[in-house]
Symmetry: C2
Subunit: 247 residues, 2 copies
Amino acid sequence: MNRPACSQLFPENFAPVCQLPQSPGAPPKNCIPELRRCVEQLGFVGCNLSPDPSGGYWKDPPLTDRSFYPLYEELVRLDVPAMVHVSSSCNPCFHGTGAHYINGDTTAFMQFLTSDLFKDFPTLRFVIPHGGGAVPYHWGRYRGLALDQKKQTVEEMMKNIFFDTCVYHGPGVEFLTQIVPIDNILFGSEMIGAVRGKDPLTGEYFDDTKRYVDGAKLTSQARNQIFEGNARRVYPRLDARLRKQGK
Amino acid sequence: MNRPACSQLFPENFAPVCQLPQSPGAPPKNCIPELRRCVEQLGFVGCNLSPDPSGGYWKDPPLTDRSFYPLYEELVRLDVPAMVHVSSSCNPCFHGTGAHYINGDTTAFMQFLTSDLFKDFPTLRFVIPHGGGAVPYHWGRYRGLALDQKKQTVEEMMKNIFFDTCVYHGPGVEFLTQIVPIDNILFGSEMIGAVRGKDPLTGEYFDDTKRYVDGAKLTSQARNQIFEGNARRVYPRLDARLRKQGK
């Protein structure tokens, strides 16, 4: 029985992105047929890519390994970005949402930084969730590491890497918008986020991430970019879908 | 031949902390004799504790595992804190200073948060380097996760956990001092840090971490706490050593 998907029930509110059938030890190119099916047949606008299919054991090669190149060729051909997000942690060292998620973000950024990936795929685009893990807070470290290796600058990487706003407090989101170029920040909501409760200091849900963006010191143009403009640029198939709806 | 240590050559500038002989799969209690020797015989004021002796494979139990308890009893008896810092990464997924270091900090904080460790050892103290990894940037996430589990609050953890200032840019250090209680921030210098070069925007070395603290908006009392007062409180044996020098 085919039940309608969320994006079919509420096509004005949701545009779908797909999971890929990654598996520990399996070559990433195995994911290509599913990516094509979701994008070309079902109208999905992006995909998720896990940097650690082993679930906290980090046994597979980094995202910059040549084994990923056939998948990246397809992402470029379809012109869809990948969100780089791990799955659950099976490793007792790593709490899922409190450690593994954030570590995955930081790890992926550093893999990209030390690679030639964006020379090989100048239009490949990745969205790193949770405000980029530890990256904006350690922006000087990453700028410095990039300058030391003389391969690419962090500023150059901003053609290919974007961050969402899933940082659960006002000062964190404010900081993100002060450090990372506005063009590289995409609003991220949390349907069911890492934290279920309300902040006793504000009486509001921790994972109500829109409030933090609303409260940040931003020009109305910057706010529009974060809420809409950047997503339409980074996800061209979302833009096409919205234009079809007259938006 | 016994060569003089840095702390013997320059006793007014350096106080030693020790490495522990941790090894993958070896019980942490094996480290107790070396800890005792360094602190009681050689006058060391603290130690380093790695959350991942496997070097990026995270094969050992979390720092909150009962196997660490004999070592923690000794840390408490000697009244010395442990800095929680990983060693090199042997895992190609993790760049050492750009990913593994920062991930280790974030991971350890989350292990502490989900444990009863500070109920069992109310005076045990850990210093988390690199400004706490991703923790201050995601302070709302950690406050919320702690509140959800109803075990301890992040504010309560501040009796036991401290962060250094090794964050390589002014806004990052400023942010740290705005988010984390001043009493929990200890100045950290970098003898040879993660970044070797100078920032072309300022002409100064990225790892000259004192400049960032000097430049932060702080009262003179807060600055004194960060540069000296907190270290003397967290490391009582450092305080005793300084008082012996008439400081």
